[in-house]
């Protein structure tokens, strides 16, 4: 099990728990960030 805690825009905490090796979890916010950086 792995976990990743993020702080949401409104300050609330959210923790993702992952159990599979190839997790489908991809942060929508990080995706937006990566797109921005490409621009």
């Amino acid at each position: 099990m792995t976990k990743q805690t993020i702080t949401k825009k409104d300050g609330r905490l959210l923790t993702y728990y992952r159990f599979t090796k190839e997790s489908k979890v991809e942060s929508r916010e990080s995706k937006v960030e990566s797109r921005k950086s490409k621009v």
Binding site: L14, Y17, K24
Partner: protein, 325 residues
């Protein structure tokens, strides 16, 4: 507005949380705030395309990590405190439909590991005395979101029901030198009529003193105080037992049975609680296939439950429900 108000008559805290009146109430299935956020879609509580299990701070919490000042001043009689604590939502999966019953044993085992981690992490907060993990399932219980989920309340005090169980356990230990729940398990095993299911590490039974007709308790055979005490094997056996009980509930009458599921474990505040024995309690609100059990005058006003059924007969019904045990 949110605060703790002391009830000097019952010697227990009441949480006021007026903002919870505004919480989301049965949104359309395609506007679920607990589903993943889809590209081009509305932002949900989870800013990811998919997830396995997620825990997050409730948007409408009764308790807050940084609690505001109480709206009223306390008096000599009426004590008031900030409603400090944590209220979390645990999403069992990104799939919108279904219930915990539909999850595989492996999925439930993953959830048990998450419960263990949340208990440890929240219990380490200096303002948290007790980590209470629970699930309200079904509209009959007052659930307002269909997406399968549970909750955690990390209280700044030990809640009264658990406080009473701890006092009874301590009293029994002082008198006999033994754990109360260990003795209850021995009695249930000896009698046998109220056992619903058992495996290597856990026993599920309708307690002798059941308050709800289909109330079921699950307890480890060995003395364990809280989830971190369990080995990985015991966690898997707990997942198997949960799956068995959940299937029995749903197969009893052929519909997904609503329930309250609560985990009772030792407080996380310093103290000697090693005499306390972990267990899970289920309270389904149905007394027959068509009839609900209501908490009425005697239950709500006097604290005396009237059970219209015999635990021995209800346990036999649950044993016969698929998977037969």
């Amino acid at each position: 507005m949110s605060e703790l108000r002391w009830n000097p008559l019952l010697q227990q805290w009441v949480i006021t949380a007026t903002h919870r009146q505004e919480r989301t109430f049965f949104p359309p299935d395609d506007y679920c705030p607990l589903c993943p956020t889809q590209e081009g879609g509305f932002p949900t509580e989870v800013p990811a395309e998919d997830y396995e299990i997620v825990a997050f701070d409730n948007k409408f919490p009764s308790l807050r990590r940084k609690a505001p000042r109480p709206a009223v001043k306390q008096t000599g009689l009426y004590e008031v405190r900030r409603a400090e604590g944590v209220c979390e939502v645990i999403l069992y999966s990104s799939k919108h439909s279904g219930t915990l019953t539909d999850h595989t044993v492996e999925d439930i085992n993953n959830l048990v590991h998450v419960w263990t981690d949340r208990y440890t992490e929240l219990g380490a907060l200096d303002f948290v005395d007790y980590v209470f993990i629970f699930e309200n399932k079904g509209k009959e219980i007052g659930v307002t979101l269909n997406h399968p989920h549970g909750q955690i309340y990390a209280y700044p005090f030990i809640p009264p029901v658990v406080r009473q169980e701890i006092a009874a356990s301590a009293d029994h230990m002082a008198k006999t030198g033994r754990c109360l729940v260990c003795d209850i398990l021995a009695e249930e095993k000896s009698d046998g009529r109220r056992i619903v299911a058992q495996n290597d590490d856990f026993l599920a039974f309708v307690p002798f003193y059941a308050r709800y007709p289909y109330e079921v308790h699950i307890a480890p055979r060995e003395h364990r105080c809280s989830l971190p005490d369990f080995s990985d094997g015991e966690k898997m056996d707990l997942a198997r037992m949960l799956k068995t009980v959940l299937l029995k509930y749903d197969n009893l009458w052929g519909f997904s049975l609503p329930y309250m599921m609560v985990l009772h474990q030792k407080p996380t505040t310093p103290g000697d609680f090693d005499h306390y024995h972990f267990h899970i309690e289920f309270y389904p609100p149905y007394r027959t296939k068509e009839k609900l059990k209501f908490l009425a005058g005697s239950e709500a006003g006097a604290g005396v439950f009237i059970n219209d059924t015999l635990a021995e007969e209800k346990a036999a019904e649950l044993r016969a429900a698929t998977p037969e045990t």
